[in-house]
């Protein structure tokens, strides 16, 4: 490990910023990491799938549990790449068994649930310590970066779960119906065995593997970067790097001075002072880099000067008459437009008033639902005529007389906004909205009875008919109208 060859920018960072650095490191080499991942992790997953083929629900759990193993190869690659010796595929491949065997039992058993897994991994894998030494080392590091390691683990598990569920959600619609669980049955009986098909579980496990492949390398990188940041802060790696560079520069500068002195002593001056500085400057300025480029582009400006001059010329005088005419025409046009606008607005002023008024028909309809409702077409005493028709057992005629009479009254006298395209229901709504309370209530009953007789052909009782006739409200009270 040579610090001078480092390929990441060292600087004491905030913890979250170093997590981002890890993401940037992984992104830089994601292609190589994913190839290594496929070659090392996929065989293990295939084995897991074969072993757990009878209970696929356990596969995501097993895949999750074995995560510490997957982390090691990407970490090996990243740690080498960070110090400028990006290993080839076969170099890493050769390390694979060694990496996985080292400390795998503690990693899979009592350290599995550690919240600083990826932050502690570099200390376990890269520093070459053993036993109690590792534990002490991790404790030291965790004093400085432990809490950020925990929150980073939380953040990445959030991302992983969100991405997993998102992928399942997004691809759910593509599943055949036989593979979709019976959600209603599941929530009724909580019987997972029969309601969730195996295909669904397999598909969930596959989605999980895809997402782990995508997210886990970034988690490893983030832990490694956090570890680097920790050591940068407590050991001053960035300062060491700068000092090493400074020393290198100064030693080589000293060497250059010594060589120059030796050369001068030997009388072999290689330095050629320019004879005439001004001439040299002129020479340099002739180079194409110093050429001054100019570009001309026309620009529109107000022609004030020309206007002043034109007034003096005799040619323009004969055109005065035309100018006045055009001006007059223009103002006439403006005036005409304004007048037209005002007239138009006044004519259409109802557009600006409220809607209920605008709905009022200009003329009361004469025919509604195929019935003539003009006052002339009805007998003078509607109620008497209705009673007579009822006595003659012509029930439909009796109710139709009442209904037409009431509509005629409401349309002509009360000016209820009913148009000739309205149905019984529309009429009722309009009357309820605009009519007096007693009239509206009566009209509601009457409409009910009328619809019953006219459309449903159901009999109306004598009592009801009697009530309708007795309570007839559509008469001029006190002869006022």
């Amino acid at each position: 490990m040579r610090l001078e060859d480092i390929t990441v920018a060292l600087r004491p960072r905030q913890p979250w910023e170093s997590v981002d650095l890890g993401c940037a490191m992984v992104r830089r080499d994601f292609g190589r990491i994913i190839v290594l991942w496929v070659c090392t992790v996929l065989p293990l997953w295939a084995l897991v799938c074969v072993l757990l083929r009878s209970s696929p629900a356990l596969i995501p759990l097993a895949v999750w549990w074995l995560k510490p193993l997957y982390d090691r190869v990407p970490l090996f690659f990243l740690s080498r790449a960070a110090f400028g010796e990006r290993p080839t595929f076969f170099e890493t491949w050769k390390q694979w068994p060694r990496l996985w065997i080292k400390n795998f039992l503690p990693a899979l058993l009592w350290r599995r649930l550690s919240f600083i897994r990826s932050f502690a991994l570099p200390a376990q894998m890269l520093e070459g310590l053993r036993g109690a030494g590792v534990k002490k080392r991790i404790k030291t590091l965790a004093m400085d970066g432990g809490s950020s390691g925990v929150s980073m683990t939380l953040a990445f598990s959030n991302i992983e779960v969100a991405a997993w569920l998102g992928l399942m959600w997004g691809t759910y619609g593509l599943l055949p119906e036989s593979a979709q669980p019976d959600w209603a049955g599941l929530f009724q009986s909580f019987d997972f065995e029969t309601t969730i098909p195996n295909a669904f579980l397999w598909w969930g496990a596959a989605c999980h593997m895809v997402i782990v492949t995508l997210v886990e390398p970034f988690y490893v990188g983030a832990g490694f970067a956090l570890y680097l940041n920790c050591r940068t802060r407590i050991e001053g790696w960035d300062v060491e790097l700068a000092f090493r560079r400074l020393a290198t520069r100064l030693t080589s500068a000293t060497a250059a001075v010594i060589i120059a002195v030796l050369a001068l002593c030997g009388g072999q001056s290689t330095v050629q002072a320019a004879a005439d500085p001004a001439a040299a400057v002129r020479e340099v300025l002739k180079e194409p880099e110093f050429e001054i480029h100019k570009r001309q582009s026309p620009e529109w400006v107000w022609d004030d000067k020309d206007k002043d001059r034109n007034i003096d010329t005799p040619k323009a005088q004969g055109l005065d008459f035309v100018a006045v005419l055009i001006r007059l025409l223009f103002w006439a046009l403006v005036l005409g437009l304004l007048t037209w606008l005002i007239i138009y607005l006044v004519k259409n002023r109802r557009l600006f008033t409220s809607r209920s008024v605008s709905r009022a028909p200009v003329q009361a309809p004469k025919v509604l639902m195929g019935m003539n409702i003009t006052r002339e077409s009805l007998p003078d005493d509607i109620v008497a005529a209705a009673r007579a028709a009822w006595a003659a057992e012509d029930f439909k005629e009796a109710l139709s007389l009442l209904y037409r009479g009431s509509l005629s009254w409401l349309v002509n006298r009360r000016r209820v906004p009913i148009t000739d395209s309205d149905t019984e229901e529309d009429c009722l709504v309009q009357v309820l909205r605009a009519g007096e309370k007693t009239e509206a209530e009566y009209f509601r009953q009457l409409t009910g009875a009328w619809v019953q007789v006219a459309y449903a052909v159901l009999p109306v009782s004598d009592a009801e008919m009697g009530a309708l006739c007795d309570r007839w409200p559509f008469v001029d009270k006190g002869g006022a109208a």
Partner: protein, 255 residues
């Protein structure tokens, strides 16, 4: 070689040839900020719903209250982020809790149009479910931008320059000018050394000071003394007050 280094600072060249560096924030911290915002939004929704269903149904009826609550939830969902991000702080409460803020790629505050665009495109980032597109997009773009950010030309950045609090120690070293002309980076390294040396063990300090023997001309403790003297001289060439100058070097971190 320096150009190929992985870094979290992203340079942006502005139209007038000035280069600025953005401290862009990645998916991990942004997911935490989003989660905080989600909880805050849910909390507000629930509290408002409880108060509304307690007070309003008597006044305006059950259905009207339900309609108003749906309107409220709609505006919370679509305009919560827009409102805060286009505001003076440029960050929602969740983002502020993680010390983040939204910026235009040019380093300025986001305009209302940008805030609207990046937040309305959350629908796209959400697809196919739970921000999968946004997560993948953030992981694989250089400035950790999701699609909404790419369209609106915005980035999420850290709002504060990190402050490192080092213990204040009195340095007994003779102020002296460096024996060579130092570049800006080298001066910054010297100042960093002076500021952070109290955090390190004695052996480490001496080890580091010995590295720059060509500059100090001495190794070991003597070298450390001379190095500290030069760093003090860089802080203030002349001792004016008689007391050591305050160790405020945060600005140098960005060198």
């Amino acid at each position: 070689m320096a150009a190929a280094r992985a870094d979290t600072l992203q340079s942006v060249e502005l139209a007038d040839g000035v280069e600025i560096q953005l401290r862009v924030a990645g998916p991990a911290v942004r997911s935490m900020a989003y989660l905080t915002d989600l909880l805050i939004r849910l909390g507000i929704d629930i509290v408002v719903a409880i108060i509304a269903f307690w007070l309003l149904p008597d006044l305006i009826g059950e259905e009207m209250t339900r309609g108003l609550m749906m309107l409220f939830a709609f505006f919370m969902e679509w305009f919560y982020n827009v409102f805060f991000e286009a505001g003076a702080k440029g960050a929602t409460p969740g983002q502020r809790s993680m010390k983040l803020r939204v910026m235009s790629v040019t380093g300025g505050p986001v305009s209302l149009a940008q805030a609207v665009m990046r937040n309305f495109l959350r629908v796209v980032d959400f697809m196919p479910g739970l921000y999968l597109t946004g997560i993948v997009c953030m992981l694989f773009t250089k400035r950790f931008q999701r699609l909404g950010d790419l369209v609106a030309n915005t980035v999420m950045t850290y709002a504060e320059v990190p402050q490192f609090i080092a213990p204040h120690v009195e340095i007994r070293a003779e102020r002296r000018a460096p024996s060579q002309v130092l570049t800006r980076e080298e001066q910054a390294a010297l100042l960093q050394f002076l500021e952070r040396a109290p955090l390190w063990a004695d052996e480490r300090r001496i080890e580091l000071a010995t590295l720059v023997e060509p500059l100090t001309g001495a190794a070991g403790v003597e070298g450390l003394q001379r190095l500290c003297g030069m760093a003090l001289w860089l802080q203030a060439p002349e001792d004016k007050s008689g007391t050591p100058p305050p160790l405020k070097g945060a600005a140098m971190l960005r060198s």
